[in-house]
């Protein structure tokens, strides 16, 4: 036991150094990208960061706690609207709310971007708690249908609460605060927090609920509380991601937050391996990039003189087929439930290059 403890301490320090080092490498890359890459590529990189954030927090509830939620598009919408409402200046609000003036205290409030993001996270988490309580208290598997319904309802609400959301006109002219640094900074923060949480007793309790709820309860774990907590935790990050998204695209309207977002995230966590944070990160990169690359199928283009019309929906057919096939034949996805560790990576290197073996 003593020996084990010492060994753990040494590897812990090594892993910390390696992690810090790779984050620095990433930051250097971002700095390079910021200076040299064209705006289209930078936009894709920002999207990748936001999708990693969303996927990692979505995986927490679907993969780690094993509760099937379809709420991300709703949470994104809530976060985006909350944050946008708080960054717009009173003059802009006066100008753009032309059907109905904005509700009073909101109309004069204006905060810095960071505070608006924090508020977006908190509001989204509170909504998550209000939604999860009735569902988790009685029938966990109704969560899917309640969250799916909520995604539709949130669009209905956004269209009708004119004095808060400006209805179908949406909110325009948001300042493009979100850049590479914001997107990736928050992405790293999310991954850090989520991984730390999963590796604590709270994470173990979540996995216990996924594996066997009855046995978890019998060991003193309040399943209702841990599920609600996980749902709120992931909602917080998705809400902030919504705020980042809003200030990336600078115009938000109810029709922006369709089920497509949720479906993309579902694809990501399934391909990555339900329950694996590492898998979610890898798959978020792959799918976001793939989504861009496959755009040619849906847009008119010219293949060697052959005029291709471009068919909308092709990508989604491909993605739904992939989703079904992965579920049927490769349920573990890329990573199964295993996680990245420096130890396994180093071991893999040692196996590849026997000369380096110590």
């Amino acid at each position: 036991m003593k020996f084990m403890g010492g060994f753990l301490k040494v590897t812990k320090r090594r892993d910390g150094t390696l992690t810090a080092f790779s984050i620095i490498v990433l930051l250097f890359f971002l700095f390079y990208a910021d200076q040299n890459l064209d705006s289209y590529t930078v936009r894709i990189l920002e999207n990748v960061a936001i999708f990693i954030t969303l996927a990692v927090s979505y995986n927490l509830i679907n993969g780690v706690v094993g509760q099937f939620s379809l709420a991300p598009n709703a949470f994104l919408a809530i976060g985006a609207y909350t944050s946008a409402i708080f960054t717009l200046s009173p003059e802009e609000k006066l100008r753009s709310f032309i059907i109905e003036p904005m509700l009073w205290p909101l109309s004069v409030m204006s905060f810095p971007f960071a505070i608006s993001l924090l508020l977006a996270g908190i509001v989204t988490a509170l909504v998550a708690v209000m939604m999860a309580m009735p569902v988790f208290r009685v029938r966990g598997d109704y969560l899917a249908i309640v969250t799916l319904g909520f995604g539709e309802v949130i669009q209905v609400l956004a269209n009708n609460f004119l004095s808060i959301t400006n209805g179908s006109l949406g909110l325009k002219g948001l300042y493009p605060y979100t850049n590479l640094w914001w997107a990736w900074g928050f992405c790293i923060f999310t991954v850090f927090c989520t991984v730390r949480l999963i590796n604590s007793s709270y994470g173990r309790a979540m996995k216990a609920v996924r594996e066997d709820e009855i046995a978890a309860e019998a060991m003193g774990i309040n399943a209702l509380r841990i599920k609600t907590f996980a749902f709120a935790f992931s909602a917080f990050f998705q809400g902030v991601a919504g705020g980042l998204l809003a200030h990336l695209v600078t115009t938000i309207s109810p029709s922006l937050f369709t089920f497509m977002f949720t479906f993309n995230l579902l694809i990501i966590v399934v391909i990555g391996g339900l329950g694996s944070t590492t898998g979610s990160v890898i798959a978020a990169v792959l799918v976001t990039w793939g989504n861009e690359a496959l755009r040619i199928f849906e847009e008119p283009s010219n293949f060697f003189g052959y005029q291709y019309e471009g068919i909308p929906g092709m990508r989604m057919i491909l993605f739904s087929v992939i989703l079904i096939l992965v579920m049927l034949f490769a349920r573990n996805g890329i990573m199964g439930r295993s996680e990245f560790s420096w130890e396994s990576l180093l071991q893999w290197f040692r196996r590849k290059t026997p000369a380096l073996r110590v």
């Binding site: 679907n62 598997d141 109704y142 249908i145 209905v156 079904i324 349920r331």
Partner: protein, 295 residues
Amino acid sequence: MDYSFALQQLVYGLTLGCLYGLLAIGYTMVYGVLRLINFAHGDLLMVSAYVAFFGIAIFGVAWPISFIGSVLFTALLGILIDRGAYKPIRKSPRINALITAIGVSFLLENLGLVLIGGRPKSFPAPGLFSGSIVIGTVNIPELSIWVFIITLVLLVLCVLVVKRTRIGIAMRALSRDMETVTLMGIDKDRVISFTFALGSSLAAAGGIMWCMKYPALEPFMGVIPGLKAFVAAVLGGIGNITGAALGGLILGLAEVLIVAVEPDWSGYRDAIAFFLMIIILLTRPTGILGERLPD
């Protein structure tokens, strides 16, 4: 509010409610037997509507043949979906089946989008269903009468099948205890296929009547009715066929009457089902006719 206006709204509410009910029965049967929320169920409504549309408008088939063909096709599709997508993962955790169901639903919707296009098509309702009868000041569309009669007949048939026939009894047994039933020598998969076929053909019947009432066909037309039908099934008590029909009626009436009383709320119409669902979960999660929560 005057008397005839109220009656008029009642007619509309009942019609809508019957359609929700037909869709809800399929949901409730599949959930009762497999504990699976079959997200693709709502999309079957879309498929049946398109098949009937193509039969009449493109191939020029007489409408009764086209309608029957549509019901058969949808029933077959229901069986196919179960065999292809749900059966292989029946033993794995429930979340996997739910994810697959979402995949199937999305596949159907986008196949519709690619094959047929997103522009709404209008459905040519046969003359038999397009007139209306006027009693006093209340205008009763003939379609509404048909919807009411067909729903009632199908509901009674369904209840008889489930209560009286061998396969119906096997269905009920399966919903109680799948393992024991298999041990007793009942072909589980045949019973499940039958469940899907029955549920899907009801969805098809509902779908055809739906697109005569709301004649705009588009690939995503089944999503919202599907969601609401599930709420109706929960409202009536999941697993209970009569309950599903009752839940559908209540939801349909609620949507129509609430908007009739308070026209300002018409924008929130699609949100009513959602709030109803939350209220049921908080007050009576077993639904109106449900007995106890199955494990």
